[in-house]
Every structure is written in C-alpha cells, then in structure tokens.
C-alpha cells in the first residue's frame, strides 16, 4: 500500500506561513492498493488537491468518511471526480439510527451551504452506510468500528496481504478506561489498531491542553503514543493537529515525546505531502 497525506490539520484549515511545513489542510489521506484501488480517507480540505492529482486512467475511487464533522467533509464538494461524467465514485460513512448517509451529507451539499445538490453530480455516485465489521474494496479488506468521539464516528483498518494500516483521526481512547493504557479489552479502537504496521492517530493536544478538553473526542500526543504502544504498532503518524499549533509548536510536541518516552515504534509527525509505502 502507498499512503499519502493530503491534509493533517484538525478542526479548521489553517493556511499561512506559520503552518507551511506541516500544512494547513484538514483531514484527507490517500491509500493506493497494489491492484490500483484508490481509497480516500476523509474529505477535508486536502481532498481538492488529491482530486487534481488523480489524472486519468483510474476506474473507481472510494471515499471513506470517519464522521461528518465539517473538517472531514468540507472538501467533498471540491473533489474533481464528482464532476466527471461516468466516473465511479463511492462514499462510505458511519451509519446513523435516524437518517441514511446520503440524507446527512445532503445537509451540507445543498443550498444555502453549497450550490450543487448531490443528485446533480454527473459522476456515477453510490453512497453507502459503512457496515460495522469488514467489507472489501478490490484487494483491500476494510474493517470499520465505532470509536470514542462525539456523534457516530468510525475508525478504519485496511489490510492487504498481511500488511495493515489503521486510521483513527479523531479518537479519545483514554475516555472510559480506568487505568489507561492498561486495559486493551476496554480501550476504544484497540481491535482496529492492534499489530498494524502504520497507525495514523489523533494527537491534537499537549497533555496540559488535554485537561481542558477531556470528552471532546481527541487525544494528547502522550495518550496517542500510549495507545500505539498498547496496540503494538510499528509506526505512528500524528494527525489532527490543532489549528492553534504552528510548525514550531508541533516540532516541540513531537520532540518532547521523543525526549521523554522510550518509544517501541517509529514516531512520525504528520506532514501534508508525506508518503509511506508499506508491504511489498
């Protein structure tokens, strides 16, 4: 699999000289399978450039939404393939007990918030409630499960021939665990992340900041590292950077953890434009 980060910022896009190294676009990650399958994890503002990079020759693209907060869907209306007649686009997202995904996305993709209605998009669009459990897209095996974050929110694990990545961009695993990180069976997201080669995980806050935002559905970088250690991952990429954290603040967060914690895995600061290859 090849993984490319098109947006690593959380909550709100923040473009400017202060975020030029880590990037200011919100959540969007591209995953390419060996068979050419193209997955797009979340449709934050980073998806616009991803759409422009696809070029021609692809047959199908699948967008997997973890949840419908604005920083994860705001770029959807600017994703080029949606406007290509005949392009096969699938959108998967968390189920809700009251409305299907199409209706909920329609609240954003309709006036007065957006001028183009979903039904007017010229592509061949299919919208799915992501099943809790496993489903296949090409040769990629996807597992989705609800995780600790306000509102229906799923995380994804993607497996391809023995290699796996886990995507938990908005996640507060310390919530609900009495002795975090000691109880894997009581830890949200554990089954999705366990033993994966690459974990992309929420690390929005410093430990000091987290105390003011407990229950908001995000993690401190220390909690993210503790979760990754519990799950036995090989690499962790920090994600969902707080919009108030400039490049220097993000350097400091990651360096602080590297200095103070004996890490059993490789810790990588999530940077827009970074790419990773895992597996053969």
């Amino acid at each position: 699999m090849k993984i490319t980060m098109w947006g690593t910022r959380g909550s709100l896009a923040d473009a400017g000289p202060q975020t030029v190294r880590y990037g200011g676009n919100t959540a969007c990650v591209e995953v390419r399978g060996r068979d050419g399958s193209i997955l797009v994890l979340d449709a934050g503002t980073g998806i616009r450039r991803l759409g422009g990079s696809l070029g021609t020759g692809w047959k199908r693209v699948d967008i997997l939404l973890t949840h419908l907060h604005m920083d994860h869907i705001q770029g959807l209306g600017f994703f080029g393939p949606l406007y290509q007649a005949g392009a096969e686009v699938h959108i998967w997202g968390p189920p809700s007990p009251t409305e299907d995904l199409r209706s909920r996305l329609g609240r954003y993709m309709s006036p007065p918030l957006f001028p183009v209605l979903i039904r007017d998009l010229p592509c061949e669009l299919t919208i799915h409630d992501a099943p809790r459990g496993s489903f296949r897209i090409g040769e990629l095996e996807i597992a989705a499960d609800l995780v600790c974050h306000p509102g229906p929110t799923v995380g994804f694990r993607i497996d391809e021939g023995g290699t796996s990545i886990c995507y938990l961009p908005d996640h507060e695993p310390a919530l609900g665990v009495h002795d975090f990180p000691q109880e894997p069976d009581w830890t949200s997201g554990y089954d999705l992340a366990v033993g994966c080669q690459l974990l992309i995980h929420d690390a929005q806050y410093s430990e000091e900041e987290y105390s003011a935002y407990q229950g908001w559905g995000h993690s401190s970088i220390e909690q993210a590292v503790a979760f990754a250690t519990l799950a036995g991952v090989q690499k962790m990429v920090t994600f969902h950077h707080d919009p108030s954290h400039d490049d220097a603040a993000l350097d400091q967060l990651v360096e602080g953890v590297r200095r103070n914690v004996q890490l059993p895995f490789s810790l990588i600061a999530g940077t827009e434009g970074a790419a990773f290859e895992i597996g053969e």
Partner: protein, 131 residues
C-alpha cells in the same frame, strides 16, 4: 480478550460516575461491570468478583422474588433484557455478601446498537429495605 464495544466502554464510564447502583452486562449475558454504589449494595468489590455469567450472579447472591420464591436468571430483569431484548422491572430479594438480606427494585434495559446489534444490558437498583 476481545475489545468491548464502544457503547459498553462509554456505559461503564458513565456508570462509574453515578451514585446509583448499576450493573452492565455484555452481549453474551456475562456481567462485565458494576459500579462502586453497587459494590456497597452487594458487599463485594467488582475487582474482587470480576466478570461472571448471570447464572453465577443469581447463585452467589441467592436472588429470590420479594416473598422468597426461587427465580431463574431468565426471570430477573437483566435476564429479560438480555434474552427478550426489552426493558423489565421487578422487586427482588437477595443476600449481600456482607450478610444482610436486601430488597431492591430493579429496572433493566437492553443495549441495542446499529444494525440491530445486541450489545448487552444495563440494570439500575433502588434499595427499598434491608432485613
């Protein structure tokens, strides 16, 4: 050990903050948690008791109806919530492990997730009398 569903994880967190005695059972009917208020009622800490099947619970605590008649696990409110997937309420009598018989009102409801996933049940207790 498999990870609990996020619904159970958050229910346990919620129950741990309350002063009302609460039991939480998982999808297979096993008791997976009771809170500190329930520990006082039962006379045993959850850490000492650990997770247990509902059948063991009715045996250990000698649960009967309020007149002392025998009850099977399926007759108690949590048994109804787990097997019939509906709320249930009943007055029960049981012997706490610290000695006394207690009479409690119990309300239980099933935890139903998306796609008709049955995730367990919650029981809430009100003590009405200690003998």
């Amino acid at each position: 050990m498999a990870q609990k569903s996020v619904e159970l994880i958050l229910l346990r967190q919620w129950a741990s903050y309350l002063t009302t005695p609460i039991f939480v059972a998982g999808p297979d009917g096993g008791l997976v948690y009771y809170n500190e208020a329930a520990e006082e009622l039962l006379g045993r800490k959850f850490d000492d008791a650990g997770e247990m099947p509902l059948r063991d619970l009715t045996r250990i605590f000698e649960i009967t109806d309020e007149l002392g008649g025998a009850l099977s696990p399926e007759d108690i409110p949590m048994g109804v919530a787990l097997t019939e997937h509906r709320p249930a309420h009943r007055r029960l009598r049981f012997r706490a492990l610290d000695g006394p018989w207690r009479i409690v009102d119990v309300t239980s409801f099933p935890i139903e997730g998306h796609d008709e996933q049955h995730l367990g049940a919650v029981a809430i207790f009100w003590e009405t009398q200690t003998e």
